[in-house]
């Protein structure tokens, strides 16, 4: 297996750096390859490469070493460095932001629960308590307190479920004080095109917020 393979792509060139090869091997192979390419392509027109590192994540130092090889050829540019793998820490963050948290138990007056992502609420939110999340809230439990969805300003967030006995609901920067109402478990609260907090039914949700159903696909 070659340490570095050159491939043509629709939008330019791709350099595959074999994950099995050592960095020194890659640097050497890359130097030879670039020298050959430079010989073949006369002129100084800019050529951009996408670097595919496969199952290896380049550390900053390693990336620098690779960039140094390129330094000898000013008209060769690294467009991006891309790997098939990712570090777990940022991935976990990303996951958390998209996760749906199951929340149960009793939240009492004065207590606040804060989440990142969506919340499926199965517990009991007492009057004077607050459930806050950056994403959407799906209510299956009992809610008499304050629900805050889209706490960081997400206009796409929704609150689905029975809010008839809630004190207040807020989505992003809109709010509604719940007075006399006819809300049911089917009620879907969202921000419409006119930036008003309005209510629909659960079946409308797929049309209103299609992305909600494709969360994991987009990870």
């Amino acid at each position: 297996m070659e340490a570095v393979t050159l491939k043509g792509r629709k939008d330019g060139f791709e350099l595959r750096l074999a994950a099995e090869a050592s960095l020194a091997e890659i640097a050497a192979a890359l130097a030879t390859l670039l020298a050959r390419v430079a010989g073949d392509t006369k002129g100084t027109e800019e050529v951009a490469f996408v670097l595919e590192t496969g199952d290896r994540l380049l550390s900053e130092e390693q990336a620098k070493a690779v960039q140094e090889v390129f330094a000898a050829y000013p008209h060769f540019k690294i467009q991006t460095i891309h790997a098939d793998v990712a570090a777990t820490a940022p991935l976990r963050e990303k996951f958390r932001a998209k996760a749906t948290h199951l929340v149960g138990g009793v939240l009492r007056s004065g207590q606040e629960a804060d989440y990142t992502g969506d919340v499926l609420f199965l517990g009991n939110l007492h009057r004077g308590a607050t459930l806050r999340t950056t994403g959407s809230i799906f209510v299956m439990g009992t809610v008499e307190g304050l629900l805050i969805a889209g706490a960081m300003g997400d206009q796409e967030a929704v609150i689905v479920g029975d809010i008839s006995s809630a004190g207040q609901i807020r989505i992003a920067d809109t709010l509604e004080i719940i007075d006399k109402n006819s809300y049911t478990a089917q009620t879907t609260s969202y921000i419409d095109d006119l930036h008003a907090l309005v209510h629909g039914k659960v079946p409308d949700l797929a049309k209103l917020r299609p992305k909600l159903f494709r969360k994991l696909e987009e990870l």
Binding site: S109, G110, Q111, E112, R127, G128, T130, G167, Q168, L175, I177, I178, D179
Partner: protein
């Protein structure tokens, strides 16, 4: 310029919040513009007894810390046109997240717009009481005809007198049980007033309606026929400078035949 009054008692459960809500309502019914302020950080109630808790968006700690303007935090009670407002306490903040100077500043900011500002103090003599007292020109000391409540009221009067307020503290005796007072088992009105040595502003009888109405998010003052309501209405009229005689709360003497057949 509005007058600010603190409602305080020392002892808990004597009816500070109920008194605040009812006097505020009574003054609003008399056409005055009133702002009620809940200083019980962490255990707010004033909004609940007025049925306004759903409408809270910002609270007094938000105002004090600059997160909100005071007018954003004020809740208007729609039942009284433009005359009754509530500034709610925070429910999830620490007790010491408010300082006396901040309360004084908020009161002074609101003073030009209202006739009365009534500050509902929490029980106790700590930070919450000091906060409430700091913003007040005068005090309404609430007590009940019980030795423990009167003793705590005495302590509070002492603390209030050290403060050099514009108006001297005045007394409200709450939860008077007419039959117990009539047969001498509870402390007498004159006895309490004399012991505490401050002017009596009014008396309010114990009444199931007070609890029932507050459970509905209403104040008993809205019911003109109720005896407790009349007590609060009289207090409001005296605050406005009217001279209103003290309510006669003596019950009919229990007759011999009644005794004979009802024991």
């Amino acid at each position: 310029m509005g007058i600010s009054l603190v409602v305080t008692s020392g002892k808990g459960g004597v009816g500070k919040t109920t008194t605040t809500a009812n006097i505020g309502t009574a003054l609003a019914l008399q056409g005055k513009k009133v702002c009620l302020m809940d200083l019980d950080i962490g255990l707010r109630n004033l909004d609940v007894v007025l049925g306004l808790s759903n409408r809270i968006i910002y609270d007094i700690v938000d105002v004090a810390s600059g997160r909100a303007k005071v007018h954003q935090a004020l809740i208007k009670d729609k039942r009284f046109d433009d005359r009754l407002y509530v500034l709610p306490a925070a429910q999830n903040a620490e007790k010491d997240s408010l300082e006396p100077d901040q309360v004084k500043a908020i009161v002074d900011e609101l003073r030009p717009e209202f006739d009365f500002l009534i500050l509902d103090s929490p029980a106790g003599i700590e930070q919450g009481f000091r906060n409430a007292a700091a913003g007040a020109d005068g005090a309404l000391v609430v007590t009940t005809p019980e030795i423990s409540a009167v003793s705590d009221a005495d302590r509070i009067v002492g603390l209030l007198e050290q403060r050099d307020m514009i108006y001297p503290p005045r007394l409200i005796i709450n939860r008077i049980r007419q039959h117990m007072m009539a047969d001498g088992r509870s402390m007498d009105i004159d006895e309490i007033t004399q012991h505490l040595g401050i002017d009596l502003l009014g008396i309010v009888v114990d009444d199931d309606g007070v609890i029932a109405s507050s459970n509905q998010g209403e104040t008993i003052v809205m019911d003109p026929d109720d005896l407790a309501s009349q007590g609060y209405r009289n207090i409001a009229r005296r605050l406005l400078g009217e001279s209103v005689p003290l309510m006669n709360i003596e019950q009919k003497k229990v007759g011999f035949w009644h005794r004979l057949f009802h024991h």
